[in-house]
Subunit: 146 residues, 2 copies
DNA sequence: TCCTAATTTGGAATTATTCTAAGTATTGAC
DNA sequence: GTCAATACTTAGAATAATTCCAAATTAGGA
């Protein structure tokens, strides 16, 4: 990412946070950076490991706090693909998740207008929906064939 | 459920289990009964509480084991709607879950042929997909309006 | 009947997360 | 700038949900 892009991003990050009475701290910035730099839906633990490389004194509790703050102000979403650790995704566009049951890779696929229309049961007020597709990623599917 | 239906169900249950080298035990039958009797997607804890009413000596470990056995042989599916306890669903038809973020109710809606077609990224071998719709159930939505 | 493998069970261990309380940093009124 | 109020970070304790373990029990087949 260029410096210009980064500054813009931090501006947005700041605006989003402050609107909810939150502050833009170095730790929150770092955690958000980690999520933006590698959009592979890491767990809190993985975010912690990556964040520590740039910021060795950051603590696990802070990583949880930061992730929580980012989720609160709508910059990051939580994803539950299987039982176990929650994963985090900074892509706030409408998309669905493809999860490889073999190697654990996760990737996003944008939901365009006509794809995936869910039923609208009478009276139920839909807030949002999550679509998780399980299977084998291209690479694992190829290996399996051999 | 009538006795005839119940016997048939146990026959199916037995066949499904034995195909995988598993046995139809009273505990497994009880756990499955609990799921069939009230299809509200209970957690393991809730299954335990309900199963104990008919079978007071059943243990939590056994409930976990039984649920696992039922999932293994394709009679029950696990559902992750939020972080926290896994829920269990005995409906093996293709359906999506509507979850009320206010009161926690969960219900199934069948997916008919044309609804919810997910993208098929090249190379990815789809096994199955999970659709979770979050929002307010009819009753909570009505209350909210007041 | 006896053997073997499957199952159940209570309790210990583990995993992921949340809570707590103390210290640190930032903001904004004066 | 000073000072108080508020937000934030942190280590470690506590909790929730699940998994693991090893011993006792049960059940199907020679
Ligand atoms: Mn995503
Ligand atoms: Mn269901
Ligand atoms: Zn894979
Ligand atoms: Zn509701």
């Amino acid at each position: 990412m260029s410096l210009v892009e980064k500054n813009k991003m931090n501006g947005d990050l700041n605006k989003r946070l402050t609107t909810g009475g939150l502050r833009l701290t170095p730790q929150r910035q770092q955690v958000y950076d980690v999520l933006i730099q590698k959009r592979d839906h890491p767990t809190a633990e993985e975010v912690f490991i990556r964040a520590k490389q740039a910021m060795p004194d950051i603590s696990m509790a802070t990583v949880y706090n930061c992730l929580d703050a980012l989720v609160q102000c709508g910059l990051v979403r939580q994803v539950q693909l299987e039982r176990g650790a929650t994963r985090f995704c900074p892509n706030m566009e409408e998309h669905c998740h493809y999860y490889c049951d073999e190697c654990g890779t996760v990737f996003d696929v944008a939901l365009t207008g006509n794809s995936a229309v869910v039923p609208r049961p009478k009276g139920f007020k839909i807030d949002h929906y999550e679509i998780a597709v399980h299977g084998l990623c291209a690479s694992c599917a190829a290996k399996r064939k051999k």
